[in-house]
């Protein structure tokens, strides 16, 4: 499987996810949206697996390859949230955001080749990046919740349920961020001689981590404002964006060891 088939697989998946979104609004049962969404995920997953086999290395090296995982994990995060918390709107929101990343990958495809620099040839490579991409998807989904909350504002009912949902998503998200970051630290010790070097990517990873810690600690007080909590989530997600790809454009990161493409 080569990158050329991405168009067909991604459009097929998007179609299935779209049907799943619509069926969530029409059908009373959760089973129909679940089946279509899972179908789309399997189709997309097949493409990732095929690409992995044909490249003979994990497809996680280039920016476009990380976007590929992100467009896979977002609809999954949306599905998990829907199954657990019953909010239908999270389905089309995550599908839409996933579509944005798919379109970027179609319009601006990466050069794919089999080469993988020696520093990346490690058993840590796949778990480190995959768990990070999963956390980015979860935290992306909770950012959608925050935007939804801030836009709807006073009109929302059941705000406490939305807040509990946001808490759950952030806890799962920061747990994955922590795992990804510390796996990165253990790997860095194996590859570069030190577990933490304050490389720009590491600095922004720490900033992202601190951002979500602020949310968690702020929420511990019962008198905390929901609106402020949601604004913290959006700021933390901006830090995450800088960490993911923003660093590549920062003058402070020109000698970073984390820029591969």
């Amino acid at each position: 499987m080569t990158w050329d088939s991405f168009l067909y697989f991604s459009m097929g998946s998007l179609l299935l996810w779209g049907i799943s979104d619509i069926s969530a609004y029409i059908s009373r049962e959760k089973i129909t949206p679940l089946i279509f969404r899972a179908g789309g995920l399997i189709l997309f997953g097949l493409f990732i697996a095929g690409l992995w086999i044909s490249l003979e290395r994990p497809p996680l090296r280039t920016m476009g390859e990380t976007r590929l995982w992100y467009s896979f994990f977002l609809p999954l995060a949306g599905l998990l949230t829907y199954m657990r918390w019953d909010y239908k709107w999270i389905l089309p929101f995550t599908t839409l955001l996933s579509a944005v990343f798919i379109i970027i990958n179609i319009a601006n495809p990466d050069i794919h080749n089999k080469a993988l620099m020696p520093a990346l040839q490690s058993p840590w490579f796949a778990p480190h990046v995959i768990i990070y991409m999963f956390s980015y998807a979860l935290l992306g989904a909770v950012t959608l919740v925050a935007i939804y909350y801030l836009v709807k504002g006073e009109k929302l009912k059941n705000t406490s349920k939305i807040m509990i949902m946001a808490d759950n998503m952030v806890y799962a998200g920061i747990a994955c961020v922590t795992l990804g970051m510390l796996m990165g630290a253990l790997w860095a010790k194996e590859a570069w001689g030190h577990y933490w070097s304050w490389d720009p990517k590491e600095t922004w990873a720490a900033a992202t981590w601190l951002g979500y810690l602020i949310y968690i600690h702020y929420r511990l007080k019962k008198r905390s404002s929901n609106k402020t909590s949601m604004i913290i989530l959006i700021i933390a997600f901006i830090l995450l964006q800088i960490c993911w790809y923003g660093v590549n454009y920062l003058p402070s990161a020109q000698q970073s060891i984390h820029t591969y493409t």
């Binding site: 080749n113 040839q121 795992l179 510390l182 194996e190 001689g193 030190h194 601190l210 402070s252």
Partner: protein
């Protein structure tokens, strides 16, 4: 007590006091930087750091056991001090992420002379303000953990201790241990034995071990072909440069609008040039180069062009194949797949050991880790020199205890979720009943 009519510094302290104290910590750091100058990590090397660490932990425990009824001490274990401390550390991290950083070895004269340099922020992680903020966070983590033990314990506290105590241990070990970290490079040529390392300042240090380089092997990926612009030498198409990695003789492909067929491949070739032609012959020797024979056609030419393309080596020049007056086929240097040093290691105790060191596969000997660092890239895959990095970090085990606790704490967080989940069932029931009433 009514919180809203409370004056500042009146108990119970809240977020305003938290931000004032945290800002005070940064300010103290800035003043220290201005008066005592930049922090010299060498002054805190063993045994000073052990002493500082012991004093810090004993100090925390003493204050806790004597003043644990004090509201001010207790305040350091609350969200009101924690949150501002994290915010201030985050702000320093963001500044660290934006302004370029200089190595600790850089002289004063190498740093830009402006506002940031007087704060020490061009070397943020060794600036007084940053280090003091880390210690302030450690004080909060310490008190928070200690006060937590006085509560009635539940299973959820496992996650709390793993995360907070884990971070305390990893952070304290990391901050104190950074003064003891030693990183040296050692360059060894094939057949020779070396026991002297070079520090980043260029000083030569004798090591308690010696490395003999038995052989150094570089594996490369298959060669690639690109189409280049004859004038600029840039890879085409310029907006999105394409390349084709060799897949086998007889394979055909499209590259930047040109149809290619690989008709022959020599992994080891020599290039001989006379006045008219260059001849490519198979020859396996040091310095031989990879060569591909390619037949190229594209619209607008009647006769396909065929010839050898090679990326050359330190011994032979590279060869390109001209397609028309604008474009040529070329072969960039091959990408490195793997490089490994086969060594014999001698230690002071008289131990001899054979080992292979690769990137991502360091060798650990008596608290030293030996890494594959570099090689002589002017000779590429025929390099007969290997460069190692030797790292000594006696605090690593302490930091790893903290990291393992944090990893377990993260798994705990993932599984258990937020504490509010305990109230969830009643709360949702309440919400549902509200709905029915409406």
């Amino acid at each position: 007590m009514n919180n809203s009519s409370r004056k500042i510094w009146e108990n119970p302290w809240g977020y305003p006091e938290g931000f004032i104290v945290a800002a005070g910590v940064v300010l103290t750091g800035i003043l220290l930087q201005a008066t005592t100058g930049k922090l010299n990590p060498d002054l805190y090397a063993y045994p000073v750091n052990v002493f500082v660490g012991a004093l810090f932990v004993i100090g925390l425990l003493t204050i806790y056991f004597i003043f644990n009824k004090s509201r001010s001490v207790r305040w350091f274990s609350t969200v009101y001090s924690t949150l501002p401390a994290i915010v201030v550390l985050l702000v320093l991290c963001i500044i660290l992420g934006f302004i370029p950083q200089f190595p600790i070895t850089a002289e004063e004269s190498q740093l830009p002379l402006d506002f940031f340099s007087s704060l020490g922020w061009y070397q943020m992680t060794t600036s007084w303000s940053f280090v003091l903020c880390c210690f302030y966070l450690l004080i909060i983590l310490g008190f928070t953990t200690l006060y937590r033990t006085t509560r009635r314990q539940s299973w959820r506290d496992i996650g709390f201790y793993l995360n907070h105590l884990g971070l305390f241990i990893a952070l304290l070990g990391g901050v104190l241990g950074s003064s003891d970290l030693v990183r040296l490079t050692m360059t060894v040529s094939k057949g020779n034995t070396e026991w002297r390392g070079t520090t980043h300042k260029g000083e030569i240090v004798e090591m308690p071990l010696a490395i003999q380089l038995d052989s150094f092997i570089i594996e490369e990926y298959e060669p690639k072909l690109v189409v280049i612009d004859n004038e600029t030498g840039r890879i085409l198409p310029e907006a999105r440069p394409e390349s084709y990695m060799y897949e086998g003789i007889g394979k055909k492909t499209q590259l930047a609008g040109i149809s290619l067929e690989v008709t022959d491949y020599l992994p080891y070739a020599a290039v001989f040039r006379d006045s008219v032609h260059s001849n490519i012959v198979p020859m396996k020797m040091d310095g031989s180069t990879a060569a591909l024979k390619v037949k190229a056609t594209h619209e607008g030419i009647t006769q396909p062009v065929e010839g050898w393309i090679s990326n050359g080596s330190y011994l032979f020049p590279h060869s390109i194949l001209q397609i028309d007056e604008n474009r040529s086929l070329a072969m960039p240097p091959q990408e490195v797949k793997k490089y490994s040093s086969h060594i014999t290691l001698y230690t002071e105790e008289g131990k001899t050991e054979k080992a292979v060191i690769e990137v991502n596969k360091p060798l650990s000997v008596n608290n030293w880790m030996i890494y594959q660092y570099s090689y002589d890239d002017s000779k590429g895959k025929y390099s007969d020199t290997s460069v190692f990095e030797l790292v000594y970090d006696p605090w690593l085990k302490i930091v790893y205890i903290g990291i393992v606790m944090l990893l377990s704490g993260a798994i705990f967080l993932f599984v258990a979720g937020p504490e509010t989940n305990n109230l969830k069932i009643e709360k949702i029931a309440e919400i549902e009943s509200d709905k029915i009433k409406k």
